[in-house]
Amino acid sequence: MEINIFSWQEKLRRISKISLFFSALLLYFLIFFIVFSFFFVIFAGATGAIFFPDVLSEIIPILSFESLKISLIAFFIIVPPAFYFVYLKPSFIVDRVLNAEKPDLNNPLHKKAFDSFEKMKIAFGVRNAELRILDWNIINAMVITTKDKSYVYITKGALEKLEMEELDAVFAHEFSHVVHKDSYYLTLISVVAGLTVIISYFLIKIYPRILISLAFSASSSTSRTGRGRGGGGLASIGILVASAIVIVVGYILAIISPIIQRRLASSVSKKREFMADSKAVLVTKYPPALISVLSKISKEINNQHEFFKSQNIPKNIRMLLFNNLDIETHPPIEERIRVLSQIAKINPESITINSQ
């Protein structure tokens, strides 16, 4: 069986877009659920006690102006610097967290990496990119893209263990991420997934309290105003039943949706990896190199696992790296090798890449 590279890329692109669409749809649904259910509860209460309009005035203090003011101030103090560092200068943080260094051209290893890096910059027409070297002994690489600049990170282990052609393939893979704008995809999908988690937290921890206090305030306000027990009782029963339904449904949604979002995010990320693999092969026109890199990684996979367990690397950086323990952002290596060898119509066992 063989794969046509162009239809394969087209298929991956389509699937990743559909997954992204469903992920956003789920988020919209959650937001819609909260807004809708709130009105549903109010409505249930209001139909129970059409004579108690001051129920609403009891709810208002929950969304007090004070807390809004505090959160606005915090937003304006925290967001600008966070935006500056995360969006415009991510390498500033990542370099310090990972102890990355700039390539030193007197060092033959760094020179080799730099040559390969420059070649691939030309091949992909990426004008503004910088190379960083990580002092790790495993084979790994990643890329961070900002609006106008990308930073490619490669490990020292990769420079020691890989030949020039293989390094070309690695950089080609990373630059494919740049030209496919994969960091935007990844950011989008993580923002959507993150918002889903926040909303789930809201649904589990905060929303029930609001509803319960709403129910209690409804019953207490009726007793205070003393307009007769029957109507007040109906109002609070209406609100209680409605909130119970909403809370149960909200709990179920809050448990299910982060799992679904995680599946979707991982699926999108994996599809983008496959796309980057096939693009790298298209540009370098030498599939054996990438296959041989992958088989070299699969040989040292246990080292990689141990390394990542011993290192304390932030989760959002580890998402970009090849080996990630909790979220699967990359497809399994065997799968990647199988797909590449089907694209190139070669037997992965027969590949040997030796230096000149």
């Binding site: 040559d115 070649k119 691939m120 030309i122 091949a123 027409g125 020039m164 070309d168 540009v283 000149q356």
Partner: protein
């Protein structure tokens, strides 16, 4: 009732718009070809700087025929003068000519025993190879631009405008591609020992 002058005026205006569009398209494509050549030019000059030194090492290390080396130096001189000049087609043609002679050596050098033993020779060869790779990758964009330009100026209706503008097809940058197949077949048949003179 539409009058005759109005119809004629409409046709003339339509042709005028078509001509303006075609002119703009051809000029834009031509500029893109020149722009992508400028990208190659940088890497080509970087490669050309390393070549005289490399030829000297070749003379001392590998037992190439004097004829081949002479041919390389000659086409190298032509390439350098063309690169310094302003004629665009000349630059591409002389580059094609130079790589037609030079690439066979690069393809065959890995088979030479001197390369394995001599460290400086090997370093130099690797450096040359990196430079050639850079030129080769930059070539993709140039050839794409040339293809689009060449197809445009021979397709209807732009061919009329191109003829009026006196535009000719641009040459592709081949980088010794014609020789490559010949040499690869020789390499496969194990016919390596005869030297380069029969190919070049």
């Amino acid at each position: 009732m539409v009058s005759l002058p109005l119809i004629i005026g409409g046709i003339v205006a339509g042709i005028g718009i078509l001509f303006a569009y075609g002119y703009n398209r051809i000029v834009a494509l031509e500029k893109r070809v020149e722009q992508s050549w400028a990208d190659i030019d940088v890497h080509l000059k970087a490669l050309a700087e390393k070549i005289p030194n490399f030829i000297n090492v070749l003379k001392s290390q590998a037992n190439f025929e004097q004829k081949t080396l002479l041919q390389i130096s000659e086409s190298y001189g032509k390439l350098m003068s063309a690169l310094r000049g302003v004629n665009f087609d000349d630059k591409v043609k002389s580059a094609n000519e130079f790589f037609g002679v030079f690439m066979p050596i690069v393809f065959q050098l890995p088979q030479f025993p001197q390369l394995q033993t001599n460290q400086t020779f090997r370093d130099m060869f690797n450096e040359i190879k990196v430079s050639i790779d850079k030129v080769a990758y930059a070539r993709q964009f140039y050839n794409q631009a040339v293809q689009e330009y060449n197809v445009t100026i021979i397709s209807i209706p732009w061919i009329i405008i191109a003829k009026l503008m006196n535009k000719k097809e641009k040459p592709y940058f081949t980088l010794g591609e014609e020789k490559r197949k010949e040499i690869e077949s020789k390499l496969e048949s194990g016919d390596l020992t005869q030297g380069l003179s029969n190919i070049v």
